[in-house]
């Protein structure tokens, strides 16, 4: 056991002390911050000033209403989306339209609206005047409300920058609401009723049984954890591989084996390197947390609420997922002689994690099906699938413990196999191992 700790200590200290580790640890959060803050800043820069608009009201009665809608920006869509925003962690699924929407919300698009009165001029004259003002950058654009707007007339938005989708959308929905309101009032419905009637519905989800809802936030966290496992395995798997191969390349293996058994040696390597990974991830997590708290304190965004027990599950299954896949790298490392070779061999196994992602879409819909059960017992899927089940319809505790037990057994079993392959492989130096041969080694020796 003391020798095992000697190995753990060496692997840990030798790695943590490297310049590479220090630089990567510092650069990590900076890069993360750069990727999240810079785009936001770029959108922010654009909206340096308010968008100045002129409205030409040919109906003679719509200006007030439209101007109010544009300035207040009380679009029901925008409103509900803003509320949902904190539920989306940085690692949530992003499709491009989603991103555009969110980016649009980031733009602090305030509007300054003025009415362009005809004042006995012809419409063309006014238009010409407005065009000139847009040209000279007094205005960003102007809106023309045609006389037949309330029936089927099509309003026009003329602007310097017609590619600005967000402004266009804001204006479009503002006009729509104004028109809808005016139509209702003209149909004899009280203004207050109209206001009341246009309020949107906010669906509240409560878990049956009256328990506190874990909310959609949890789902995003499950996928976040999955993604985190995937990324850390890709990042640190190479380290595990390198650590296992190191003694082969430096020809130290034989000295080590003359001092200790191969199993504690391999375990020591896995744990040592993993502690390095966890140290780095821990530092990053703290940085991220500190940043989020800071960001949350400065705005009205509320951090998602996650029950503490769920948080424990997240951590436990993250560790299980990480170790299972890191172990795969150890097994591969025991078979090969160069890291490049090893990376290629390990990748197909790591892709099983992706299969776990796909399975989880099915499991969300029926979290208690036999498929869900077996998928959450299979150690290579469990880190994601079991978490999905816990978040949706928490399975009985024995199932959770069983899946964790299987996970631990898998890690230990694979390490035992890796230790065997490593030792026999060393005794047969110069021979390149084929899979059947490796299998023979495992049974032999």
């Amino acid at each position: 056991m003391r020798k095992f700790f000697a190995v753990v200590k060496r692997e840990y200290i030798q790695r943590v002390r490297t310049k590479f580790f220090v630089i990567a640890t510092i650069l990590g959060p900076l890069m993360m911050a750069a990727f999240t803050i810079v785009p936001a800043m770029m959108f922010g820069i654009k909206s340096g000033g308010p968008t100045r608009l002129a409205i030409v009201d040919q109906t003679g009665k719509m200006y007030e209403r439209v101007a109010k809608e544009i300035v207040s920006r009380k679009s029901s869509r925008t409103e509900s989306a803003t509320e949902a925003e904190p539920a989306q962690p940085a690692v949530g699924p992003n499709n491009s339209s989603d991103q555009i929407n969110r980016a649009g919300k980031m733009i602090n698009s305030t509007f300054v609206v003025e009415q362009a009165r005809l004042n006995n001029r012809s419409f063309d004259e006014v238009k010409k005047d407005l065009e000139a003002r847009v040209e000279s950058r007094e205005l960003e654009g102007y809106v023309v409300l045609p006389p037949n707007l309330l029936k089927d007339g099509q309003p026009e938005f003329r602007a310097r920058n017609t590619a600005d989708l967000f402004t266009k959308e804001n204006i479009q929905s503002a006009i729509s609401r104004a028109v809808r309101g005016q139509r209702l009032v003209e149909a004899g419905i009280d203004e207050k009723v109209v206001a009341k009637a246009s309020e949107s519905v906010d669906l509240k989800t409560v878990e049956a049984g009256g328990k506190e809802s874990k909310g959609e936030a949890s789902f995003f966290f499950v996928f976040g954890i999955g993604l985190l496992i995937y990324m850390s395995v890709l990042l640190y798997g190479q380290f595990v591989l390198g650590a296992v191969i190191e003694e082969k390349e430096t020809r130290i293996a034989e000295i080590l084996f003359s001092s200790m058994r191969s199993f504690p040696l391999m375990m020591g390597k896995l744990i040592g390197v993993s502690l390095v990974a966890l140290t780095q991830l821990g530092i990053w997590a703290m940085a991220f947390l500190a940043f989020s708290l800071w960001a949350a304190a400065g705005s009205s965004i509320t951090l998602p609420h996650i029950p503490p027990m769920l948080f424990v599950y997240f951590v436990v299954y993250f560790l299980m997922g990480y170790f299972i896949y890191a172990t795969v790298y150890a097994v591969v490392g025991s078979m090969v002689t160069t890291t490049q070779e090893g990376g290629q061999l390990a990748l197909p196994v790591v892709l099983m994690l992706v299969a776990g992602f796909y399975l989880s879409f099915n499991i969300i819909r029926s979290p208690s099906s036999p498929l869900a059960f077996w998928a959450s017992m299979f150690p290579f899927f469990a880190p994601i699938t079991m978490l999905v089940r816990i978040v949706t319809e928490t399975p009985p505790l024995w199932q959770i413990l069983l899946s964790l037990g299987i996970g631990v057994a898998t890690v230990v079993g694979l390490m035992w196999v890796a230790a065997r392959i490593y030792r026999v492989g060393m005794l047969m130096t110069g021979k390149k191992a084929s899979i059947p041969e490796v299998w023979r080694w495992v049974r032999q020796a």
Binding site: K3, V7, T250, E254, I255, S258, R261, R423
Partner: protein
């Protein structure tokens, strides 16, 4: 001192890899406080034998007993092993590296630090303690590797081809260090294919070839039993003397020197007397014991 009890006993040990027999039915005994030479050509099974002794691999059949106990992991700490395939952690500092290897032998704390410093000083490496291994020359690395084998003060030191890749100065240093270890009461197993070195250092030898033991025993006795009654000779004058077939069976001449194999029953003493009587000027007269190399070749030929 239990002088009679052997440090290491191998009894009919056999090891196979697939269809290949690396060591076959090997029995040997290593006595305490002696330098034991395991000699034979490359691929004879020396390294496999050693790996079984240090418990890296187990024999398929046979028994290995060390310090009077059946081989087990706890005994590993009492062995110091310098493998033929040896290296260092390239990026690790020399001092830390030795510390780590000491810990693997269950030696730690201040005692470990002290030993590291002592050994570095002894092998003139103190200035390199905080250098990374890759900054050291080959010879220096070899010395550091040697320290890893002896740092924990083991009772049995096993050195597999310790001289390969060393320059003459370091070969001497290594020889001297081995003899110091012997003087300190350690048992040393020296595996080598360089028989001249074995001849100079070993008290006992075991020769193996193609997985089988060829012969073993005390080096002196082996050489005596193989003595062919030969003389190395340099002289001037006394012409024709070497042609006397009652005295001389065979003569080989290299440069000034004659290698004379005495005729059966003739004594080298008689030859010397005849030479002196004949007025020859004798500049060298030496009884030649057969080299290990000669003995090995002869035994292998016998066996085939």
């Amino acid at each position: 001192m239990e002088e009679t009890k052997p440090t290491l006993v191998l009894e009919r040990v056999t090891k196979r890899f697939g269809g290949f027999t690396a060591v076959s039915d090997l029995s040997l005994q290593v006595r305490p406080g002696r330098v034991f030479g395991l000699i034979g050509p490359n691929g004879a099974g020396k390294t496999t034998t050693i790996r079984m002794i240090v418990n890296i691999t187990a024999p398929d059949s046979g028994r290995i007993e060390l310090f009077g106990q059946q081989m087990n992991t706890a005994l590993q700490d009492r062995i110091g092993y310098l493998p033929e395939e040896r290296g260092l952690y390239k990026k690790m500092k020399v001092g830390e590296q030795l510390r780590f290897f000491a810990e693997l032998k269950d030696l730690r704390g201040q005692e470990a630090d002290k030993r590291v410093n002592d050994w570095l000083k002894k092998l003139e490496l103190s200035a390199w303690k905080d250098k990374r291994a890759k900054e050291l020359s080959k010879g220096m690395q070899q010395k550091v590797q040697f320290i890893t084998a002896v740092i924990h003060n083991p009772d049995l030191v096993i050195l597999d081809e310790p001289f390969s890749g060393l320059d003459p100065v370091n070969v001497d240093l290594m020889k001297q260090t081995i003899l110091e270890q012997k003087a300190a009461g350690k048992t040393i197993i020296l595996s080598t294919h360089q028989m001249e070195i074995a001849e100079k250092l070993c008290d006992d030898v075991c020769m193996i070839n193609r997985a089988h033991k060829v012969l073993d025993g005390r080096l002196r006795e082996i050489r005596r039993s193989f003595s062919r009654n030969a003389v190395a000779l340099q002289f001037a004058g006394g012409d024709g003397l070497l042609n006397d077939s009652s005295l001389v069976a065979n003569v080989r001449q290299h440069d000034e020197e004659f290698e004379v194999l005495m005729a059966p029953g003739a004594s080298p003493q008689a030859l010397l007397k005849r030479l002196v009587d004949s007025g020859a000027m004798v500049t060298k007269f030496e009884l030649v014991e057969p080299t290990l190399h000669d003995i090995f070749i002869e035994k292998v030929r016998e066996a085939e």
